[in-house]
């Protein structure tokens, strides 16, 4: 179970990488394991406004579909178009090729409320650690 040290996390199993005034987000290794083979990712259009904790898209596997919740508020400046042809990238490399959206943050203070890697690890331990 990978929980990179340079990222922050949400209780909904998203990760966030801060890059100055923007952030990049996706779903965690735990989330992709729970869903198993991902077949489709529904992402918002460029320019869409997203609000923290509200759904901005969904990720679809064979037997389940999960909403994606915005970790922070802001405006979508880019989405990972490569996921259209290769949704499996989310399973293979959730923190790298499997990135989903890049957002220009509108409220920097929200970043402080995100979980640290240690806190996220503790959350997973509570949930039973997930699949091996």
């Amino acid at each position: 179970m990978r929980i990179p040290e340079d990222l922050r996390y949400t209780r909904d199993h998203e990760w966030v990488r801060r890059e100055g005034g923007e952030f990049v987000a996706g779903i965690t290794d735990y989330a992709q394991q729970q869903l198993s083979d991902i077949v489709y990712v529904e992402l918002p259009a460029q320019g869409t406004a997203v609000k923290q904790a509200e759904p901005f898209g969904s990720v679809e596997a064979v037997k389940a579909v999960a909403d994606l919740f915005a970790p922070l508020s802001g405006e979508v400046v880019a989405v990972n178009a490569a996921l259209g042809d290769d949704p499996g990238a989310v399973n293979r490399a959730p923190y790298e090729e499997g990135w989903m959206i890049r957002v220009r943050a509108s409220n920097a203070s929200e970043f402080e409320g995100l979980l640290t890697p240690a806190q996220y690890g503790a959350l997973l331990a509570e949930l039973g650690g997930g699949a091996s």
């Binding site: 064979v62 389940a64 579909v65």
Partner: protein
């Protein structure tokens, strides 16, 4: 029916092995006051021979379809049903099979659905089609709900020629969905194309435009002129939904050519018997972009680990059993066996056969209308082009005439329009399929002529020498 006496003693032995003394013990969780003390008040059981007699006796109170030429249409048509369809759908492997949730033991059902989806795409000019809907009417309702989820407009515009029954079903489904239904202006029984841009601009944005082809009066709508008329309206283009008779698509252009976003329809003309209106099947076809909004089931090609090609249900995450309260539709059981009938029908006919049957319907209907409108006092209700159905104005109440023709000649002459349109009691909707021979049509024409000439009181009466229908 198995011997109930024998079954009961085997069951009693099972009770002992379960470890209870009596059945009452086994159902201890059912409060005693809820348990029925005596059997239900229903008639005594019937053996097979008695059931045949019961159904035989009851059917003598119906007209005999085998001996009654029918010119009834209005959404259900008397088309030829090839013998092979019955033979194949009598196979237990098809008609007693469950929904194909375990694909490895349901490749028969799944492959046939894949074929069905393909054939519907071909007929309609759409990219994707689902595994079937309950009927064409609920398919139209679901198409409007899909349009609303894409377009968010608060109005759905219905062409005036959409069947009143379909309109009724749509109204029930869309009640409470936040979409106002509006009927567009009519011109000669068809959509008034000149008035369409104004209708689109006047009022809240329209999420959808629904047109039926051929329409309820049998007329062909000018689909080719729709894209231009719709483009002339301001604002976001409404989702164009065409409800198309699948048999007519043997000669008519696929609605996809005219910018249809979704095409739906009823499968009944494709090898499905009338069955007093149900069950039938519906089809639902749309553009690739909307595949994730498709209601109902969808079958896709798949491979196993050895690389063998098979078929499986796909995108089940849209469906109610997974998406639950977020599902776009609650449809579960649909019309599998009826879609299979339609598939076999289209396979038997092929491109040549579907063209032939459509052309025959067209020729016979035109021949019939020519003969009927040549009768004094009878006019065609509309001037526009038609496929296999048309309305005529008899100049007299159609209900009485139709009842009299059935009583005297055993012919079902048509559907009186007064049943749906209060002001149109003198008009009759007549459908002519490839089953109606030259003699049938001649007999109808003669019967109408005779009926019109009778004095008012005698029109609906039978001839005393005919048996009671």
């Amino acid at each position: 029916m198995s011997d109930q006496g024998q079954a009961r003693s085997a069951d009693e032995a099972m009770l002992a092995e379960i470890g209870v003394g009596s059945f009452d013990e086994l159902i201890a969780q059912v409060p005693p006051r809820l348990r029925l003390a005596k059997p239900l008040a229903l008639p005594a059981p019937l053996a097979e021979s008695e059931l045949r007699r019961l159904y035989g006796d009851l059917s003598r109170k119906n007209y005999d379809p085998a001996r009654t030429p029918s010119f009834l249409g209005g959404g259900v048509y008397d088309h030829v049903i090839p013998a092979a369809i019955e033979a194949l759908t009598w196979r237990s492997e098809f008609y007693t099979a469950y929904t194909p949730y375990q694909p490895e033991v349901a490749q028969g059902t799944l492959a046939a659905i894949f074929e069905f989806q393909t054939m519907i795409c071909e007929l309609t000019g759409m990219d994707v089609a689902n595994a079937s809907m309950y009927d064409g009417a609920s398919a139209a309702a679901e198409a409007l709900l899909l349009a609303r989820s894409v377009n968010h407009g608060g109005r759905a515009l219905l062409a005036p020629g959409v069947s009143p029954r379909v309109r009724g079903v749509i109204a029930t489904h869309l009640e409470g969905a936040g979409v106002a239904l509006e009927i567009l202006p009519e011109e000669g029984g068809r959509i008034d194309i000149a008035a369409l841009p104004h209708a689109l601009r006047a009022g809240p944005p329209a999420c959808a435009l629904l047109v039926q082809q051929p329409n309820f009066f049998g007329l062909l709508e000018p689909l080719d002129r729709l894209p231009e008329a719709v483009a002339a309206a301001a604002g976001e283009r409404p989702h164009l939904v065409v409800s198309a008779d699948p048999l007519s698509l043997g000669i008519l252009a696929p609605p996809g050519r005219w910018g249809a976003d979704t095409v739906v329809g009823d499968l009944q003309p494709l090898g499905i018997p009338a069955q007093f209106g149900g069950p039938t099947g519906g089809y639902f076809a749309t553009r690739a972009a909307h595949v994730r909004r498709l209601p109902g089931r969808l079958v896709a090609e798949a491979r196993d680990a050895a690389g063998r090609r098979g078929f499986t249900l796909t995108l089940q995450t849209r469906e109610q059993h997974i998406r639950r309260e977020k599902a776009t539709s609650n449809i579960c059981t649909n019309s599998g066996l009826l879609a299979l009938r339609a598939t076999i029908y289209l396979a038997l006919l092929g491109p040549g056969g579907i063209r032939e049957v459509a052309r025959q319907c067209y020729a016979r209907a035109h021949h019939a209308r020519a003969g009927l409108t040549a009768l004094p006092g009878v006019r065609a209700s509309h001037a526009g082009p038609f496929f296999r159905e048309f309305a005529i104005d008899l100049g007299q109440p159609a209900e009485a005439l139709v009842a009299g023709i059935h009583a005297r000649h055993g012919i079902l002459a048509g559907i009186p329009l007064g049943r749906f349109y209060p002001g149109r009691t003198n008009e009759l909707l007549v459908a002519v399929t490839e089953k109606r021979t030259r003699e049938d049509i001649q007999a109808l024409t003669a019967a109408v002529a005779e009926g019109l000439a009778l004095p008012r009181g005698a029109r609906e009466k039978g001839n005393p020498s005919h048996a009671e229908p």
